[in-house]
């Protein structure tokens, strides 16, 4: 695991918190505005997850599809995306930066060349949205050669063999999808999530980060209480960045919202699993 993820999760674990990881699309709504967004997010984030825009994002919902299309229309190239990462890295030497891409962008450049370029841009992890673990070996190997953590998605329908593979190939963190989303109010959902996270932990998977349908502080708190090491919030963040651009949301309101999301990662009461190791040994 790269130093930054390791130190981040270790520090959070000591303070009884989980990681708040906002997501946005590189170059959205245009490369210049994106620089400001990245700084705004980084100020309230434990780590960042950044999507490289792709013409055919089959794993994205409408909000992120639209953001990606706008980024491409505004001239965001892969190189420009990496430049944005490198700029962010210069100002934030310790912030873990994750990249979410689609396979064709990786193979087009050459798998090794892509991971090398990512490493050079200061990226810590790469998740290829349309490469499942059964196709993941060559991608994970190239990532490790470049000093990048390969991240895999653990969906709720993955059989045991896939979980084993995800645990073996993955590094940095594990991107966990849950069946029903996470709401603090839904006890049943919380229990299902907890069991799912335990199944991953038993197999020695990298720290579990919940990455779907996280849009308010209650969901953040619910996810952390269920045992997640962190949460990624994507559509909710991008929606607010769009409102910010349109002048419908003030900058201080945006900062307040980000802070409320981050504050919600402070696990409370007996739901904290003491000694839960976020660090993969």
């Amino acid at each position: 695991m790269t130093r930054r993820y390791r130190e981040c999760f270790a520090a959070l674990s000591r303070s009884g918190r989980g990681a708040f990881i906002p997501f946005t699309v590189l170059g959205f709504p245009d490369p210049r505005s994106c620089i400001g967004h990245l700084e705004l997010l980084a100020a309230q984030a434990d780590a960042l997850e950044l999507g490289m825009p792709f013409s055919d994002p089959v794993a994205d919902g409408p909000t992120l599809q639209r953001a990606g299309a706008e980024a491409l229309a505004a001239g965001t190239t892969v190189r420009r995306g990496f430049d944005l990462c490198a700029g962010l890295r210069r100002g934030h030497p310790d912030l873990p930066i994750g990249l979410l891409v689609y396979a064709n962008l990786v193979v087009r450049r050459g798998v090794d060349a892509f991971y090398t370029a990512a490493a050079k841009a200061g990226v810590d992890s790469v998740l290829v949205a349309d490469v499942p673990s059964e196709e993941g070996e060559p991608f994970a190997a190239a990532a490790r050669r470049a000093g990048i953590s390969p991240v895999f998605i653990a969906p709720p329908n993955a059989p045991g063999a896939a979980l084993e593979r995800i645990a073996r190939l993955g590094d940095g963190y594990t991107y966990v999808l849950t069946r029903s989303g996470v709401t603090g109010a839904e006890q049943g959902a919380g229990r299902a999530v907890r069991e799912w996270l335990q199944a991953l932990a038993r197999r020695g998977a990298a720290p579990p980060v919940l990455g779907f349908g996280i849009s308010n502080p209650e969901q953040v708190a619910g996810g952390i209480a269920a045992g997640a090491a962190g949460v990624i919030s994507g559509s909710a963040v991008v929606t607010r960045l769009r409102e910010l651009e349109a002048g419908e949301l003030g900058i201080s309101a945006m900062q307040d919202w980000l802070r409320s999301m981050r504050d919600a990662t402070l696990a409370t009461g007996d739901e904290v699993a003491p000694g839960r190791s976020c660090v993969r040994q």
Partner: protein, 397 residues
């Protein structure tokens, strides 16, 4: 060589299953259902009955009487245009609909470009009482209005996809997104021999009937195998169906007619094998049209059914092996062939199929000795009438 699959889901280095992890289990489920159905006599009997009594198999093999009378070539048409639904699509749709029922799925989703696959899926859904939703690019909906109405008449729900370029690739994206949240009770009935494993294999096996019949029919007519078999290639389902039973017959030249559009040098085409490059699209490692970054480009063709910036992975492998050749055929040549078949033989072909015929006509003019050419006439041209009428500026004298 029964099949050119080198290991499950791989054709050399092509193919595979590049989908979000979430979609792997439903694809594995489909693969298992497909494998068990292949050896299940009851399934085969039911499918064969449907193909015969409902869809109209076997389809005839027609020798062209007038088209190439002045040349040493003889052209035979495998008449998938006479299949119920108006194109070869019905073959594999009936099979996949049976598979859907076998897996206990209660809903079917599909993508469509020209609308032929959507129509076939809609009619199968009506027949088997399974609700169908078809994703279709908004631009294709405009180009192929009659097929939108056909699907709706058959009881399907048509969703116009506005994302991206509003064409087939965007419809596939949207169907995949639907499936990611609906796979528990929904079958994704992919329409071509592309996409993630097992689709390229499954679609080939359920389209193999085209070449199997044609092979027996031409042996009966000619007492020998054809010199060439040619079919159009968009995603490549009718071509792989025609080729499959000829792959072992080394004397038979296999030719895929790709949509050359306005010419590959203009960039306005869909000839992914002739002029594309290796990439990963819609779940398979294959040839795609893309820019230097790997962003997928919009394809172009006079025929919506060939307008796709990817292609089935087995075709890329057959090209790599040199077993099949893939040739771009321009819009203009296809349009000429469309009219020629109408006037000379009384058959109005689909614009897609006209690409294969155009290549055959050129070949007939080229050859110096007796040559038997088998053309996969994958569909009929009714759906193209408005489009062609516009292009020709009305009926010529």
């Amino acid at each position: 060589m029964e099949t050119s699959e080198t290991k499950p889901g791989r054709f050399g280095c092509w193919g595979g299953r590049y989908v979000p992890e979430l979609l792997v289990p439903p694809l594995v489920e489909l693969e298992a259902a497909f494998e068990s159905a292949r050896t299940d006599t009851q399934f085969q009997v039911e499918l064969n009955e449907l193909l015969r009594d409902y869809a109209g198999r076997p389809t005839p093999l027609t020798r062209c009487r007038n088209l190439v009378a002045q040349t040493p070539a003889r052209i035979y048409l495998k008449r998938e245009d006479l299949l119920h639904g108006g194109a070869h699509k019905t073959n594999q749709v009936l099979a996949q609909a049976l598979l859907a029922k076998r897996m206990g799925k209660r809903r079917i989703i599909a993508e469509t470009g020209a609308g032929q696959h959507g129509v076939a899926t809609a009619l199968a859904g009506a027949l088997m009482k399974i609700p169908v939703r078809v994703y279709m690019g908004v631009r294709d909906c405009e180009r192929q209005q009659p097929n939108v109405f056909r699907m709706e008449l058959l009881g399907a729900e048509v969703v116009a996809v506005e994302n991206g370029s509003g064409t087939l690739k965007d419809a596939i994206n949207e169907a995949l997104r639907d499936w990611a949240s609906s796979y528990a009770d929904t079958h994704y009935l992919l329409g071509t021999a592309a996409g993630p494993h097992p689709f390229p294999t499954l679609v080939r096996e359920f389209q193999r009937v085209i070449g199997r019949e044609a092979r027996a029919q031409i042996l009966e007519c000619e007492g020998r195998l054809p010199d060439v078999a040619v079919a159009c290639v968009g995603g490549g389902s009718n071509a792989i169906g025609l080729f499959a039973d000829f792959i072992d017959d080394e004397s038979v030249r296999l030719v895929g007619a790709e949509p050359g559009g306005e010419g590959v040098e203009t960039g306005r085409h869909g000839a992914t094998i002739s002029a594309g490059s290796p990439g990963i699209l819609h779940g398979a490692c294959t040839h795609v049209m893309q820019n230097n970054d790997g962003q997928i480009l919009e394809s172009y063709s006079i025929s919506a059914g060939l307008d796709y910036p990817g292609v089935g992975p087995e075709h890329v492998y057959l090209a790599e092996l040199g077993r099949a050749e893939y040739v771009p055929v321009k819009d203009a040549a296809a349009l000429d062939a469309f009219q020629a078949l109408s006037r000379e033989e009384g058959i109005i072909p689909a614009l897609e199929s006209a690409h294969a015929l155009a290549w055959a006509l050129e070949e007939a003019r080229r050859v110096k000795r007796e040559t038997v050419i088998l053309v996969g006439l994958s569909g009929r041209g009714d759906k193209d009438l408005t489009h062609v009428r516009g292009l020709l500026g009305g009926v010529k004298p």
